[in-house]
C-alpha cells in the first residue's frame, strides 16, 4: 500500500471532521428539542386591529414578511380585525388559543382604555405575552403659525389656547389635557381634528397648537409652518436639543403624568401574543421577532416604505406595560375625567 499523499489525507481529515460535526449537531438536536417546532409547517396568524391600509397594517405586513424569512417553514398571514378603536381586534387576540400561532398588533391607546376600565375591554394588557415594540413614538407639542410666538412660555401666558384633538375619549384628547395639567397651560380642546385635519386647522390658523406623535408631525415642522415646542420621550429622529416636557413640570403630579406618556411613547407598533402562552414558546417567539426586526433586508424595506424602526425587546415592553398599568388612583381619576368619563 502506498502511503496517502498529503492532499488526499487532508480531504479525509476534513470528511472525518464533518461527520463528527454532523453527529454532534444531531446529538445536540436530539438532546435539546427545537424551540420553534410548534411553528414548523403551521400557519402563524398576525391580527391587526385596523382596516386594511394605514400605518398599523403596513407595519404588520412588513413584519409578517420578515417573520416569514426567519421561519421558512411557516406561513404568516395578516388578518384585519377592525373596530371600536382597536378594542375588537385586541379582544379577539386575547381570546385566541395561547399556542403561539396567533399574535397581534394594536395601539397604545388601549392602555388608557384599560386604565379607565372602558366598556368593551375584554383583555388585560398586564398578562399579554409581549414580543416587542417596533418603533418609538415620542409625543410632541406642535404650535401652528397663529400661536403666540415665544415657545412654551408664551403659550403659558395666554388664555384659552385652542388645541385640536381627535375627540373626547380618544388618546389624542387625553394626552393634550394631561399635558396641559402637567405644564400649567390654559387650553380649550376642540374635537373633530383627527388624522391630518389638525394639520389643516393649524395651517388655516383656527388652531394654535396640538399634541401628537413625532412621526406624524415631523413633515409639518421640517417644511416650515410648525414649531416643535417640546417632546415627551426620545427618538433618534428628534432634532437635537428638543426640550423635554419633564423639564417644565410644576409638581410631582405633573412629573407622574409626563412619565406615563413617556413610557407609552416607548411602545410604538406593539406586538403581543395572547395571555397564557407557555414561557418557552414566548421566549422562542421573542427571539424570532427580535431577529426579524434587526434583519438588514427588513430594515432596508422599512426605509423604502418610510416606516421608522426602533425596536424595544419583549421583556422590556412587559416591564413598561406593568409600570403603566400601576398608575396611582389619583392620576387614574384624572385620566378618567380627561377622557370624558365620570370623575367619581
Amino acid at each position: 500500500m502506498t502511503p496517502l499523499r498529503p492532499a488526499r489525507r487532508g480531504v479525509l481529515w476534513c470528511a472525518a471532521l464533518c461527520v463528527a460535526l454532523v453527529a454532534t449537531a444531531a446529538g445536540k438536536a436530539l438532546a435539546e428539542p427545537d424551540p420553534l417546532a410548534f411553528l414548523r409547517g403551521e400557519r402563524l396568524t398576525y391580527i391587526v386591529a385596523t382596516k386594511p391600509g394605514g400605518g398599523y397594517d403596513a407595519y404588520a405586513r412588513l413584519i409578517a414578511e420578515a417573520l416569514e424569512r426567519q421561519l421558512p417553514d411557516t406561513e404568516v398571514i395578516v388578518q384585519n380585525v377592525p373596530g371600536a378603536g382597536h378594542i375588537v381586534g385586541t379582544n379577539r387576540l386575547a381570546a385566541a388559543v395561547p399556542d403561539g400561532l396567533t399574535i397581534g398588533m394594536f395601539n397604545t391607546g388601549l392602555f388608557y382604555a384599560q386604565l379607565i376600565e372602558r366598556e368593551g375591554v375584554a383583555f388585560d394588557l398586564a398578562e399579554m405575552g409581549w414580543l416587542g415594540a417596533a418603533a418609538v413614538e415620542p409625543r410632541v407639542m406642535i404650535a401652528g403659525p397663529s400661536a403666540p410666538k415665544g415657545g412654551l412660555a408664551a403659550l403659558r401666558a395666554t388664555e384659552r389656547v385652542i388645541f385640536g384633538t381627535k375627540g373626547v375619549g380618544t388618546a389624542s384628547s387625553a394626552e393634550a389635557l394631561l399635558l396641559a395639567k402637567a405644564l400649567d397651560l390654559d387650553i380649550v380642546t376642540v374635537p373633530g381634528y383627527g388624522g391630518d385635519r389638525a394639520n389643516l386647522g393649524l395651517r388655516r390658523g383656527e388652531l394654535a397648537a396640538t399634541v401628537g406623535s413625532w412621526s406624524s408631525w415631523r413633515g409639518f415642522v421640517e417644511e416650515g409652518p410648525g414649531t416643535l415646542l417640546l417632546a415627551i420621550g426620545t427618538s433618534a429622529s428628534l432634532p437635537e436639543g428638543t426640550p423635554q416636557a419633564a423639564e417644565f413640570t410644576q409638581d410631582a403630579e405633573g412629573e407622574a403624568l409626563v412619565a406615563l406618556i413617556q413610557r407609552l411613547s416607548r411602545l410604538g407598533r406593539l406586538t403581543a401574543a395572547p395571555p397564557g402562552l407557555p414561557p418557552e414558546r414566548l421566549d422562542a417567539l421573542r427571539q424570532v421577532w427580535q431577529a426579524a426586526l434587526t434583519d438588514p433586508a427588513f430594515l432596508a424595506r422599512a426605509e423604502e416604505l418610510r416606516l421608522p424602526i426602533e425596536p424595544t425587546p419583549g421583556a422590556e415592553v412587559a416591564a413598561l406595560a406593568r409600570a403603566i398599568l400601576a398608575l396611582p388612583e389619583n392620576l387614574k381619576s384624572l385620566l378618567v375625567r380627561s377622557m370624558g368619563g365620570d370623575a367619581s
Binding site: 386594511p52 391600509g53 394605514g54 375627540g167 380618544t170 383627527g194 388624522g195 385635519r197 383656527e206 418610510r306
Partner: protein
C-alpha cells in the same frame, strides 16, 4: 409644475407595458365591481390594498387610483337598468335613470350617464392638474364655519328630493340624521345608540346603510315582479341610436354637465363632504335648473346627467386635499391614503414639491381611466341594456349574497346582517308606500359634518362665526338656492291631490313614530351636548310621523289592513329569509353554498348538478375573498 413634466409623465405611463397592464386590470376590475350591486369603491380599495402591498410606489398608486376612479361609471349601469345602485353615489341616478329604463329609454339613459361620467372625470382630472400649484391657498379658505354652512346647504336638498311629500321627506331625512348619531360622540366621548355593541362604536357604515336601504328593497321587488321593465315606447332599448340619443342629450345639456362637473369637483375637494353628498347636491341643482321640473324623478335625463357628472368629477376633486395635505377628501380617499402609506408613497407637501412626475402620472391615470371605462361600457351598452328586459330572478341568490357581503365587509362584522335586514325592511316599506327614500342618505352623510363643524365653530369663534367673509358668501349662496327652490316648487304645486292613504301608509307612519319615540327616549338620557341633535331630529321626525298617522286614521283605508298579502309575495319572502338565515348561521361559505343550491334547485328548477356547481364555485370564490383579504368578527 411645467408642461415638460406633464408630457414626460404621460410618455412614461404609455411606454411601460407593466403600468399599462396594471391600469387595464384596474379599470376592468373597477368597472366590474361598480356594476355588481353591493361592491362599491371603498370595498374595491379595501380588497385591493393587501394585494398591492409590496408593489413599487408608482405601480401601486396607479393601480389604486385607476380602480377607484371608474367604480361609479360602472355603478350607473345597475342604477339605471335595475334601479339598484352599484355604489353609494349612484343612488342619485336611480330616480330618473331607472324611470327612463322603465319608460323604454334604457339605452338613452346609459348613453347620457356614461358620457357625463367621462366628462365629469376629465374635468376632475383637469381641476386636479390646474389647482395643484395653487392648492395651498385655495383649501385654506374654508374652515369649520364654511363646512357647517355647506352641510346645511346639502341638507336643504332634502326639500328638493322630497317631491310632493315634503313632510315625509323631512321625516326620512331625520331618520338618516339619527343614524348618523350612532357611535362614539367626539364632542362628549359618550356612546350614543350603541346598546353595548362594540361594532356600533364607529357608527353605521354609509355603504352598509345604502345597500340595505336602497339595494335590498329593489332586489326584493325585482324578485317579486319576476322581471324589471318592459319596453313601453320609443326606440329599441339597447339600440345604437338610443345610446347616441343619450350622448346627444349630454351635448345639448353641456352647461348642466359642466356646472355639475365643476360643482362635483369642488365638493369633492372639501374634506368630509364626499361623493354621496356631491351627487345629491348636483341632483338638487339639476332639479333647480331643468326646463321641466314636473318630470324630475319620472325619467328626466337631467336627473341622470347631473349626479353622474358629479360622481366622477369628485374623484379628481377629492384627490386634491388627499395629495396636497394628506387630508382625505372622502371616505374612499381615506382608504386610498391608507394604501399610499402602505406603498411608501409620500403624501402632502412633500409629494407636491418633490414627486411632481408621480402626481402627473396620477392626473393622467385619472383622465385615461375615465375615458377607457366610459368607452368600454358604451361599446358594451347595447348588450347591457338588454339586461333590463330579461328575467334576472335566478341570479338573485348571487346578487343577494354579494349585497350582504358588501355590507358585512364595510362594517367589518357579521352583526351587520341583522342591521341590514332591519334597514332593508324599513326601506322596502317606504318604497312601497311612496315615501321618498333619498333624503335618508343626505341625512346620514351630512349628519356628522353638520354636528361637529357647528360645535367646532362655536368653540373657536363663538356665534359670530357666520360673519367671516367666506361664510357670508356661502350664506348668500344658500339664500339664492332657497329662493330658486321656492320658485320651482311653487310652479310644481299644480300637481294632483294626494291620494287616499293606503294601509301600508298607516303602517309606515306607525313604524316611524315608534322608531322616533324610542330614539327620543334614549336621546334624552344623554348629556345635554350629546342629546341636542338626536333629540331634535327625533322630535321633528316623530311629529311628522304622528301627523301622517292621524291623517291615515281619519281618511285612510283602515279595512285594507284585513286583506292578507299575496301568496307570491309571502313565498318569495320565505326564500329570502331562508337564504339570509343560512348565511347568518353558517357564514358565506357553507351557508351561502347550501342555501343557493337549494334555492336554485327548488325555486328556479335548475338541475341539481348545475345548482351545486354554480353555488359551489361562487361560495369558494367568496370564502377565498374573505379568508385572504378580510377577517370578520
Amino acid at each position: 409644475m411645467d408642461a415638460g413634466t406633464a408630457v414626460s409623465a404621460l410618455l412614461a405611463l404609455l411606454s411601460s407595458p407593466r403600468l399599462l397592464g396594471l391600469m387595464t386590470l384596474a379599470i376592468a376590475t373597477g368597472v366590474a365591481l361598480g356594476i355588481v350591486p353591493g361592491l362599491g369603491g371603498k370595498i374595491a380599495l379595501s380588497l385591493a390594498i393587501p394585494f398591492v402591498f409590496g408593489m413599487e410606489p408608482l405601480e401601486g398608486a396607479v393601480f389604486l387610483v385607476a380602480l377607484h376612479a371608474v367604480v361609479h361609471t360602472g355603478g350607473a349601469v345597475p342604477a339605471i337598468l335595475l334601479g339598484v345602485p352599484g355604489t353609494g353615489p349612484n343612488v342619485a341616478t336611480v330616480a330618473d335613470g331607472h324611470a327612463m329604463a322603465q319608460n323604454g329609454e334604457a339605452g338613452r339613459a346609459l348613453g347620457a350617464a356614461l358620457l357625463s361620467s367621462a366628462v365629469g372625470g376629465l374635468i376632475g382630472a383637469l381641476a386636479l392638474a390646474l389647482t395643484l400649484p395653487l392648492l395651498a391657498q385655495l383649501s385654506l379658505l374654508l374652515g369649520p364655519p364654511e363646512f357647517f354652512l355647506l352641510s346645511i346647504l346639502g341638507l336643504t336638498t332634502i326639500a328638493a328630493l322630497s317631491g310632493n311629500h315634503l313632510g315625509k321627506g323631512i321625516a326620512v331625512g331625520a331618520f338618516g340624521l339619527l343614524l348618523a348619531c350612532v357611535g362614539h360622540d367626539p364632542l362628549t366621548g359618550e356612546a350614543r345608540f350603541v346598546f353595548g355593541q362594540l361594532w356600533l362604536w364607529d357608527g353605521v357604515d354609509i355603504a352598509l346603510a345604502v345597500l340595505a336601504f336602497y339595494a335590498l328593497p329593489e332586489l326584493l321587488d325585482l324578485t317579486l315582479e319576476g322581471k324589471v321593465s318592459r319596453t313601453a315606447r320609443g326606440t329599441g332599448p339597447g339600440s345604437v341610436s338610443a345610446i347616441a340619443e343619450g350622448i346627444r342629450d349630454v351635448l345639448r345639456r353641456r352647461w348642466l354637465t359642466l356646472r355639475c362637473a365643476c360643482l362635483g369637483t369642488g365638493l369633492g375637494a372639501i374634506p368630509g363632504v364626499g361623493g354621496d353628498a356631491a351627487a345629491w347636491i348636483c341632483y338638487g341643482h339639476a332639479v333647480q335648473s331643468t326646463a321641466s321640473p314636473e318630470t324630475m324623478g319620472r325619467g328626466n335625463v337631467d336627473g341622470v346627467i347631473g349626479p353622474e357628472a358629479a360622481n366622477n368629477a369628485k374623484e379628481g376633486g377629492a384627490l386634491i386635499p388627499t395629495l396636497a395635505f394628506a387630508v382625505p377628501g372622502s371616505s374612499g380617499m381615506a382608504i386610498l391614503l391608507g394604501g399610499f402609506v402602505m406603498l411608501g408613497v409620500p403624501v402632502g407637501p412633500q409629494l407636491i414639491a418633490g414627486e411632481t412626475d408621480l402626481v402627473w402620472s396620477l392626473v393622467w391615470v385619472l383622465a385615461l381611466a375615465n375615458l377607457a371605462a366610459a368607452a368600454l361600457l358604451l361599446w358594451s351598452a347595447p348588450a347591457l341594456a338588454r339586461i333590463a328586459h330579461i328575467p334576472i330572478a335566478p341570479a338573485m341568490p348571487f346578487i343577494l349574497q354579494l349585497t350582504l357581503l358588501g355590507g358585512v365587509i364595510s362594517a367589518g362584522t357579521f352583526w351587520a346582517l341583522p342591521l341590514m335586514i332591519a334597514l332593508a325592511g324599513l326601506g322596502w316599506l317606504l318604497k312601497r308606500t311612496g315615501w321618498p327614500r333619498q333624503p335618508f342618505v343626505v341625512g346620514l352623510v351630512l349628519g356628522q359634518l353638520t354636528e361637529i363643524s357647528l360645535h367646532q365653530s362655536l368653540l373657536i369663534w363663538g356665534p359670530a362665526f357666520v360673519l367671516r367673509p367666506q361664510s357670508l358668501v356661502l350664506l348668500a349662496l344658500l339664500a339664492v338656492g332657497l329662493v330658486l327652490y321656492l320658485r320651482v316648487s311653487t310652479r310644481r304645486r299644480a300637481s294632483p291631490e294626494a291620494p287616499v292613504p293606503a294601509v301600508s301608509e298607516g303602517l309606515a307612519a306607525l313604524l316611524s313614530l315608534t322608531v322616533f319615540s324610542v330614539a327620543l327616549f334614549f336621546a334624552l338620557g344623554f348629556s345635554a351636548t350629546a342629546s341636542l341633535l338626536p333629540a331634535l331630529v327625533a322630535s321633528l321626525g316623530g311629529a311628522i310621523a304622528l301627523y301622517q298617522l292621524m291623517r291615515f286614521l281619519r281618511q285612510g283605508d283602515i279595512h285594507g289592513a284585513l286583506r292578507p298579502p299575496t301568496v307570491t309575495a309571502s313565498s318569495e319572502v320565505v326564500w329570502w329569509a331562508l337564504m339570509i338565515t343560512a348565511i347568518g348561521a353558517f357564514g358565506f361559505g357553507w351557508g351561502g353554498f347550501l342555501a343557493t343550491a337549494f334555492v336554485l334547485a327548488f325555486r328556479f328548477q335548475v338541475t341539481l348538478l348545475r345548482s351545486l356547481t354554480l353555488s359551489g364555485g361562487f361560495a369558494l370564490l367568496l370564502s377565498l375573498l374573505l379568508t385572504r383579504a378580510i377577517s370578520l368578527g
